[in-house]
């Protein structure tokens, strides 16, 4: 297992260092506060998992938020019924979302291409509506599932008495909040990144890439591809469940909107924005989108007029008026523009930009990356 190619090892170590140092290097961007760092780590896990399905097999699922939501609900129920410890919540969430993915994948993977996408979208929207209204006793509908003082917590009660007030999630007695929670999530991000790296390089990963480049040919050579796609689907569903559980651990609440189609679309955006089929791309995409969502949406007219303070009075007013349409509640507009620009000029996402710059710096050296990029070139039309 430790016999990694040197390039992979450097990538992995660099990634781990970048993730662990996030509280430092995100400081100048105004993003180094625990809640957003948690989200960076959690949605990166979600996107890395999504990429195992979409990036490797080319199957575009439009319903991954369902597994994310199921993971959250499972984790909160584990908090309510079993224990405030994070370990049972994570196990419970990953198992439940894995089973859920098995069921949905078994049905959806009978079709491919657009039909598969529509099927997953339909299943996710069904789950959302079930969570929103039909299963209200389990999900508490629009209000969201929350902890309450009279929860049972059978496992905890076996060991100690309930304290005053609402308990917070713990890890073997250590309260998971602030930077402790971030390093907990960061550990999982690094671990899941490592697994994704190993999957991509394994014979199993080669099979998945084969399915992406030409499934018909794979079938003619006598390979039954469905178990492979199903396995990829379940793995990425479990990744989503893990991410959902981590979100519930850092903030013990699960709401139905986590399963809405917009949330499913978000992870697709993350992956394409960063670069589908690459390992680091989806992570960068997730960070970009979460950064936009949390930082750009918080910029108001006051901050803008400070920013444009160097301009004369009238020009400052105009500048604030124009730029205010792109920040605050208009952050979707900025995100949309960035997305359009990336898809038009860098179809391989941010990672393609990185590769182009790298090849510009070392023009005479034919890097294996260029061969890679043609193999893993994403198909935006899919």
């Amino acid at each position: 297992m430790l016999a990694m190619p040197r390039k992979d090892l450097i990538l992995f170590l660099g990634f781990a260092a970048a993730v662990l140092a996030m509280p430092i290097w995100l400081q100048p961007f105004g993003a180094a506060y625990p809640d957003l760092l948690n989200r960076f780590a959690i949605f990166a896990i979600f996107a890395v998992g999504f990429n195992i399905l979409f990036g490797l097999t080319g199957y575009l699922s439009f319903g991954h938020a369902a597994f994310f939501g199921v993971g959250s609900y499972a984790a909160v129920w584990s908090f309510k019924l079993l224990s405030m410890d994070a370990v049972p919540a994570l196990l419970f969430a990953v198992i439940i979302s894995g089973l859920f993915a098995l069921a949905i994948g078994f049905l959806s993977l009978r079709r491919s291409g657009i039909y598969f996408s529509i099927l997953t979208l339909a299943f996710a929207q069904m789950s959302y509506n079930l969570a929103y209204s039909v299963f209200t006793p389990i999900t508490n509908g629009e209000t969201g599932l929350q902890l309450s003082l009279n929860d049972k917590r059978y496992l905890d009660r076996m060991f100690f008495e309930a304290g005053a007030g609402l308990p917070s999630p713990t890890l073997f007695g250590v309260t998971l909040s602030g930077y402790v929670a971030f390093y907990f999530c960061a550990f999982f991000l690094i671990a899941t990144f490592f697994i994704a790296q190993r999957v991509t390089g394994s014979p199993f990963g080669m099979m998945l890439k084969g399915i992406k480049s030409n499934q018909t040919r794979m079938n003619y050579t006598g390979v039954n591809t469905r178990p492979y796609t199903l396995a990829a689907f379940v793995i990425s569903g479990m990744y989503a469940g893990l991410a959902g559980a981590l979100l519930a651990i850092t903030d013990p609440l699960a709401g139905a909107e986590r399963m809405q189609w917009t949330a499913s679309g978000e992870v697709v955006l993350m992956t394409i924005l960063g670069g589908a089929g690459t390992l680091v791309g989806p992570v960068i995409g997730a960070w970009l989108i979460k950064y936009f969502e949390n930082i750009f949406s918080a910029i108001n007219d006051g901050i803008l007029s400070q920013f444009w303070g160097f301009l004369p009075e009238g020009a400052q007013h105009t500048a604030v008026l124009i730029s205010s349409k792109f920040v605050g509640e208009g952050w979707f507009l900025t995100l949309g523009l960035v997305f359009v620009l990336i898809v038009v000029f860098l179809p391989g996402g941010v990672m393609e930009g990185v590769r182009r710059i790298a090849s510009m710096i070392r023009p005479n050296k034919p890097t294996p990356a260029s061969a890679d990029s043609s193999a893993t070139k994403p198909h935006p039309a899919e």
């Binding site: 105004g30 809640d35 957003l36 509908g141 969201g144 929350q146 003082l149 709401g255 949406s297 509640e329």
Partner: protein, 451 residues
Amino acid sequence: MTLLKRGLSRRRVLQTGMAGIIGTGVAPLMFTKGAWAQEFCNNPTGDTVTLGLNLPLTGAYAEEGADEQKAYELAIKHLNGEGDGGLLNLLQPSALKGNGILGKKVAFVTSDSQTKADVARAGATRMVERDGAIMITGGSSSGEAVAVQGLCQEMGVIFMAGLTHSNDTTGKDKKRYGFRHFFNAYQSGVALGPVLGQEYGKDRKAYHLTADYTWGWTQEESMKNATEALGWETVAAVRTPLGAGDFSQFLTPVLNSGADVLILNHYGNDMVNSLTQAVQFGMRDREVNGKQFQIVVPLFSELMAKGAGPNIKGIFGTSNWHWNLQDAGTQAFTKSFGAAYGAPPSQAAHTCYVQTLLYADACERAGTFYPPEVIKALEGHEFDGMGNGPTLYRAADHQCMKNVLVVRGTENPTSEYDVLEVVQEVSRDAVDYDPAIFGGDLGPAEPAPIC
């Protein structure tokens, strides 16, 4: 060069460097850490204090959110001694001085909650963790209020709820760190019941359409209790998703149900859409069981009434407050809001404005920002002059007890803002209730959690 070489040995550079670092940067941090330890979340140490405004600027309740933001900005101006002072001079008793809170200038940060509980929590966390907000306020949905209130309890930050009408906010989900000035669904039912009985008789069949979340559920329950006590029959109660947009699929069954009253437990854009569609279906022109068909909207606001236009004429509902009341507080607030923004304030704006002042006043009276002391100052506090008559912040559930208005859509409006008329001001005693009926537990104030 020689001079440098002589003057600066390696040791000397290190020595002065270290001394400089310790002297300028690190030492104050190290030495003050003991003296000024942050004994609670976001203790403001500078000369400003930051409030976190969590507002639904997009989504089904966006219009309320925009009005709330205006009210907060006005309240903060008044607290800082700018503008005409608004209600600052009318709050009785008042410890406010018009120089900020406890001498610190009030600043604010905002976050768009998108009318979603999840996003509201993320926004509130950001404002507490990154922007150092000492208090979170706002919201126009009970789903958000309940979610953010729980978060604030965990982080040890006071939450002054904006517009939230669900019984759960100060009932089953009440929290020690959460406070609500707005009235609730139970009080709406108690206030509206007798008026409905008087106007529409004792023998009616009601059909409920209910927004499917905490507020809708409790409002439906409260309205059922109030109308069934009159002798009305409930034909059906149907839940509709929040932000549905098109309600025709829910309205068609009403026509054949034999019901002669439609109770719309909707708010914001949902209510505007469902009411408009109900009117388009010709419901108000129908006669069922030999009686004129009626529509009731238990929770009304000026913004919704404006949105629904002429459809609202003659329809009964309740309000927390109305700009057309004749007391000094209401007049002062309407004047100062109108001067700033050119339109009379909505009830959402009013409740948010008052909540900001009440928090500031409580800090002044407590003499500190330490949340458990501020909570003590708010609990059981009796005040007046805010436009709702004498009001009590009840200690048992953090609900404000005050008069409730029964309102009706104006038949002959004289201006575009004259959309609601006050039918009756139901007294505080009439809408009083035992806090124990909704259960729930406030939880502890101390030890104050440190975010």
